[in-house]
Amino acid sequence: MGNLIAEALSMGWMALAILAGLLVYFQVSISDPAAKKRAVFKTFIGIVSCFLLFMAIANYKTNFYGESRLLPVSLVMITVTTFIMALYFTNLSALLKIGGMMFFVAAFLSGYGNWLPQVEGGFPPVEEKVTWETMTTQQLADKGEEIIFGGVGKNKEQGAIGKGQCPLCHAFHAGMLGERAPNLLGLPTRKERLEDPKYSKGDPSKRMYSVKEAFPGSGTAETVQEYIAESHACPSCYVVEGYGVKGTNDKESPMPSIHKPPISLSLAELAAVDTWMYAREGVEPPSFDDIVKSYEKFVPEADRPKQADDKPAGATSLLADGSEPVDQIFAKAQCVSCHTIPGIPGATGTIGPKLEEGTTAPQRIKDPAYKGTAKSTTEYIMESIVDPSAYVVKPFPDKTMPAIFGQKLSAGALKKIVDYLSQVKTGAPPPKVS
C-alpha cells in the first residue's frame, strides 16, 4: 500500500500541487464566507478524487504484467472518484456520471475475466535434436505418446494434448466416442479398410473422394502401416463414413495433412506416433525404417519437414523460451546453482543472495546505495536480471552474475521469473509453481 501511495504521488504530484495551490488561493482570495467554504470544499474533494485516480493508475501500471487479479479494483476506484466529483461539480455532472458508469462496466468485465481460470497459450513448440535411429521401440513409443498427449503416461488423462493435437478430435480408448473423428483403438489391425471397395486398393483413379492420391503416382496403400501413413499424409484420400466435412457427402476430410503446417510433424515423429499406436495394443510395430519408408511413399521429398531448418533462429540461442514451468526456467538458466529460491526444488545455491524479492526489493529500492531506475518490485527484479550491477546486495561481490540473461531468456521466460519472484516473501509460504 505504501508503495502504491508513493507511486501515485510521484505520478500525480504536479496535479495535486496545482489543486493544493488553488485551495490556498481560494482561501485567501474569496471574501464571501459561503462562497469561500464552497470553493474550498470542492477543491478538497478534487484533491481526494485526483489522488484516488492516481492511486488507481499506479495500481494498473505496477501490476500490468503481473498475475494480480485485483487490477479491476483500479477501475472501481475511478468509478467512485467520478461519482464523488459529479456530486460537487454539477456542470460536468452528466459527463462524470457517464464516465463513472463506463468505468464500472469495464471493471466488472475485467474482474470477470480475471476471476475465470487463467489459461495462457504456450510458445510454439521448439524442435529438439533427437537421434531417432538409435532409439529402442519403447523409447520411440514414449516419444510418440509425448507427441500425441504431451507426456509419457498421459494417454488416459482427459484433455491431455501434445504437439500432434490428435486428441482434439480422435478418441483412443474403448467406449470413448469420437464425435469429430473415428476412435483409433484397433487401428494397427484394421485391415478391412484396405478391402473396402470405396478405398479402391490398387486403383486410386476410381476413388470417389476429393483427392485421389497423396501426390500423382503415389498409388494406394498395400499394408496396414501404409494405410496409416496415407491417412496422415492425405486424409481426404479415404474418408470414414460419417466423418467427412459437412455438405461434402463424406468426400472430403476435415483433418489436416499432419506433415504440413500447422502441425508439421516430421516423418520420424510420425514414426514415433505410429510405434506408440502399435505398442500400446501389444502389437509388434514395424521397424523405424519401415515406418519412415511407408511415409516416404505418400509424402514427396519437397514436402517433408526438415527438423533443423524449421527451427526458428531466435529460439536456438535461448536458454528458456517461456513455455516451460517457472521451476524449469530457473533450472535451465542455472539460477538454482547460485541462489536459494523458496519453493523451487534444488535451488539452494549460496553464491548469490536468497531471492525473496517480494520483501527485499521494496527495501532495496529505498536504499541510498541503490543507483537503478526501478520504481516497483517487478521493475527491480527485471533490472537485477538484465543489469545485475545496478544494485549489488552486500556482502556479495559485484560482477559475479553474468549480464547475459536479458538476451538468453525470452520475454515470456523473464515474465514468469519476475511474476514468481515478486510473490516470494520472507516468512510466507512460497507461491505456487505454474
Binding site: I98, L109, S110, Q158, L168, P262, G322, A411
Partner: protein, 638 residues
C-alpha cells in the same frame, strides 16, 4: 425559379462528382493493374523459353505463375522485430483497436443517416419528416469529428506496423500492393463524398433535391462498405490465406488473395457489428445529452434520439449471433482445429465471457424498454407481467453462460471428479445453450411488442382474436424452444446440432410475424395518451450507456479472439511469428487490455461529444426555429 434551377444544377453536379469519386479508384487502378498484367505477361513471355516456376494455391488448389517472394522467415532481433522497452504486440493491439472503433463508428453512422433520412422523405407527416431529417443531420454531425480522428489513428496504425513489424508489413503490402492503393483512393472518395453530403444538407432540403441528397448517402455508404471489405481482405488473408503457394509466394491472382475462405462471413459479421456498435455510440451520446439537458424540450429530443438509436442498434444486434454462427461454421470448414481452439480449446473461456456479454446486451435492452413504458399512459397494464419476463430472461441467461467443455488441468479434473461437473455439467451443453439464447431473444421481441402497443388499444374488429393468437403463438414458441432444448439431451450429438435450426426459426417467426401482426392490429388504434418524451427515468439512460459500453467491450473481445486464433502465425500456416510474444495471453490480461482500450475510446469520444456541445452553444438564438441547429420536438409516436 432561377435560384431553384441553379440549385438543381448544383445538386446534379455534386451527385456526378460523387459518382466520379466512387469510380475514381477503379479508373486509376485499372491502368496500373493492366500495366502490372502486361509486365507480368511480358515477363512470362520473356521467360517462356526459360524456366517458368509454377506454384499451387494453398486454398483454391489452382496452379499459378509464381510472382512474388516467399514469406520471410523472421528471427527475433532488431531487423525483423525492432522494439521499444515494451511489448510491441500490445502497442499494435492498442493502435489497431482504436482505429477499428473509430472506423466502425464512422462507417455505421452514415448507414443510420441514410435510413433515417429515407424515413423522413417518405413519411407523410411534415413535422415528423422534419424531425427525422434533423436527427439524421445530428448523427452525421457527430461522425464528422470522429472521421478525422479515424484517419489520424489509421496513420498511427501504419506507422506502428512499419516501425515494430517491418518484415511482416513488407510481406503483406507486397501481396496487397494494388489493393492498398485502391483502399487509399477509396478513402479520398469517402472523404469527398462525406463533405459534399454534409455541407450540401441545407441546399438540398426540399423536393427533387432531397432525393438527390438521399442518393448521395447511398453512394457514401457504398464507398464506405467497399472500403471495409478491402480492409477485411487483409485480416481474412492472415487467418485463411489464399492466392499464395505453401511458401507464401503470390501467384498472380489478386481476387484469390482477397476472396479467402473467411472473407464473406467476416464482411457480413462486421457490417452488422458496426451497425449495432454505431447504434450504441449514438444512444450513449443521446443519453449524455439527455442527462446534461436543462430544458424539457432538450430532454424530449434526446430521449427520442436515444430510443431511435437503440432500436436501430438492436435491430442489427438480433441477426448478429446468426452471422457469427455462419462465420464459425466457415472457420470449422476451413480448419477444424481452428474452430476447436476457439470454441473448445485455448480460447473457450473467452466465449463464456462473450455469452455473458450477449446476455448483458439483451438484459439492458429489455430494461430500457420497460423503463420506456413509463412515459406512456396505458402501459401500466403490462408492468405487472414484467416480473415473469425477468424470470424467463434470468433462466435463459443462466443456462446460456454455463460452461461445458473446457480444457482443464489434471488437478481441476480431479477436484471435479471428471470432465463434467456432477450437477452443472448437465446444463451447459449446446442444445440447452441454444434454448437459453432463443428464450432471451424471444422475450426481447415480446418486450418490444408490449412497448409498441403500450399506449394504444386496438380498434380492429378482430382485436380479441388477434390478442389470443399472439399469446398462443408466443406460448407455442417458448414451448417449442424449451422442448427442443430438453429433447437434445436424448439424441446423439450430430443430430442435436440440427435442432438449432428449428429453434432459430421459431425465434425469427416470433420476430417477423408478431411484429407484422402487431402493426396491423395497431393501425388506427385508439391512443390512451401521447408518448411523453423526456419523461423517462435517468436509470434508463444508464441502461443505454451500459449497452454502448458492453457493445464496445464485446467488439474488443471478439477482435482479440479472432486475432488470437492464429496462435503463433502472422499469416496462418504461411508466415510464422518468431517474436518473443508468440504466445497467447491469459484471459485476465486480455480482459484488462480490452478494458483499457474501451475506456480510452470512450474518454476520447466523450471529449468529441463535449467539443460538439461547444459548437452547438454558438448557434444564434434566431436560428432556433429553423433547421439545422434547432432542437425540434420529437415524434408523437414511435
Amino acid at each position: 425559379m432561377g435560384l431553384l434551377a441553379g440549385k438543381r444544377i448544383f445538386s446534379i453536379v455534386a451527385l456526378c462528382m460523387m459518382v466520379g469519386l466512387l469510380l475514381l479508384p477503379v479508373v486509376v487502378a485499372l491502368p496500373s493493374l493492366a500495366i502490372g498484367e502486361e509486365t507480368r505477361s511480358g515477363d512470362a513471355a520473356k521467360k517462356e523459353g526459360d524456366k517458368v516456376e509454377k506454384g499451387r494455391d494453398v486454398y483454391y488448389k489452382t496452379e499459378g505463375i509464381v510472382s512474388g517472394a516467399p514469406a520471410p522467415k523472421t528471427t527475433d532481433g532488431v531487423k525483423d522485430y525492432p522494439r521499444y522497452n515494451f511489448e510491441s504486440r500490445v502497442l499494435l493491439w492498442f493502435a489497431n483497436q482504436q482505429h477499428l472503433y473509430y472506423g466502425s463508428f464512422v462507417l455505421a453512422v452514415p448507414i443510420f443517416c441514410m435510413i433515417i433520412e429515407f424515413m423522413g422523405v417518405v413519411t407523410k407527416d411534415k413535422a415528423l419528416a422534419k424531425r427525422y431529417d434533423q436527427l439524421a443531420y445530428d448523427f452525421i454531425k457527430i461522425s464528422l469529428t470522429a472521421y478525422s480522428l479515424t484517419a489520424i489513428l489509421g496513420g498511427i496504425l501504419i506507422f506502428t506496423f512499419l516501425t515494430l513489424y517491418p518484415a511482416f508489413f513488407s510481406y503483406l503490402s507486397g501481396i496487397f500492393r494494388p489493393v492498398m492503393h485502391i483502399y487509399a483512393l477509396m478513402f479520398v472518395a469517402e472523404s469527398g463524398t462525406l463533405y459534399i453530403y454534409y455541407y450540401g444538407w441545407d441546399k438540398m432540403r426540399e423536393g427533387f433535391l432531397k432525393w438527390i441528397h438521399l442518393s448521395m448517402s447511398v453512394i457514401l455508404n457504398v464507398i464506405g462498405t467497399l472500403l471495409m471489405f478491402l480492409a477485411n481482405s487483409w485480416i481474412g488473408f492472415m487467418m485463411s490465406p489464399a492466392g499464395v503457394d505453401e511458401q507464401g509466394r503470390y501467384l498472380g491472382n489478386i481476387w484469390h488473395v482477397i476472396h479467402t475462405a473467411l472473407w464473406n462471413p467476416l464482411n457480413l459479421h462486421r457490417i452488422l457489428g458496426n451497425m449495432a456498435f454505431g447504434g450504441g455510440v449514438v444512444a450513449a451520446y443521446a443519453a449524455y445529452k439527455f442527462l446534461a439537458s436543462k430544458t424539457d424540450e432538450d430532454r424530449a429530443h434526446y430521449d427520442w434520439m436515444g430510443y431511435i438509436a437503440m432500436a436501430l442498434g438492436v435491430a442489427f444486434l438480433i441477426p448478429l449471433p446468426f452471422a457469427g454462427y455462419w462465420l464459425m461454421r466457415e472457420v470449422y470448414a476451413y480448419r477444424q482445429q481452428m474452430g476447436i481452439t476457439l470454441m473448445g480449446g485455448l480460447l473457450a473461456w473467452l466465449f463464456i465471457i462473450q455469452a455473458t456479454m450477449i446476455g448483458i446486451l439483451f438484459l439492458s435492452t429489455n430494461y430500457y424498454l420497460w423503463q420506456a413504458m413509463g412515459r406512456m399512459r396505458g402501459a401500466e397494464k403490462y408492468q405487472r407481467y414484467i416480473k415473469y419476463l425477468v424470470f424467463l430472461l434470468a433462466c435463459g441467461y443462466m443456462v446460456f453462460i454455463t460452461p461445458h467443455t473446457m480444457v482443464m488441468t489434471p488437478a481441476e479434473l480431479k477436484a471435479m471428479g471428471g470432465q463434467q461437473h456432477p450437477v452443472l455439467g448437465n446444463y451447459g451443453v449446446m442444445s440447452a445453450k441454444n434454448g437459453g439464447i432463443n428464450v432471451i431473444i424471444t422475450t426481447t421481441v415480446l418486450s418490444f411488442v408490449w412497448y409498441m402497443r403500450g399506449n394504444k388499444v386496438s380498434t380492429v374488429s378482430w382485436a380479441k382474436f388477434g390478442n389470443i393468437f399472439m399469446g398462443v403463438f408466443f406460448g407455442c414458441a417458448y414451448f417449442n424452444i424449451i422442448f427442443l432444448a430438453v429433447y437434445g439431451y436424448y439424441i446423439p450429438a450430430n443430430v442435436r446440432v440440427g435442432l438449432s435450426v428449428p429453434q432459430v426459426a421459431t425465434t425469427l417467426s416470433c420476430l417477423f410475424f408478431m411484429f407484422a401482426l402487431n402493426s396491423f392490429m395497431m393501425k388506427g388504434a385508439k391512443q390512451m395518451g401521447p408518448i411523453e418524451w423526456g419523461k423517462i427515468s435517468a436509470r434508463s439512460q444508464y441502461a443505454l450507456i451500459m449497452l454502448a459500453t458492453a457493445f464496445t467491450w464485446m467488439m474488443g473481445l471478439m477482435g482479440y479472439i479472432r486475432s488470437s486464433v492464429r496462435l503463433f502465425w502472422h499469416v496462418n500456416e504461411i508466415m510464422r511469428d518468431n517474436s518473443p510474444w508468440a504466445y497467447t495471453h491469459t484471459v485476465g490480461f486480455a480482459a484488462n487490455m480490452i478494458s483499457a482500450n474501451v475506456l480510452f475510446f470512450w474518454i476520447t469520444i466523450l471529449f468529441v461529444f463535449w467539443l460538439g456541445s461547444l459548437t452547438a452553444k454558438k448557434v444564434p438564438v434566431e436560428s432556433k426555429a429553423g433547421i439545422p441547429g434547432s432542437v425540434p420536438q420529437p415524434a408523437p409516436s414511435h
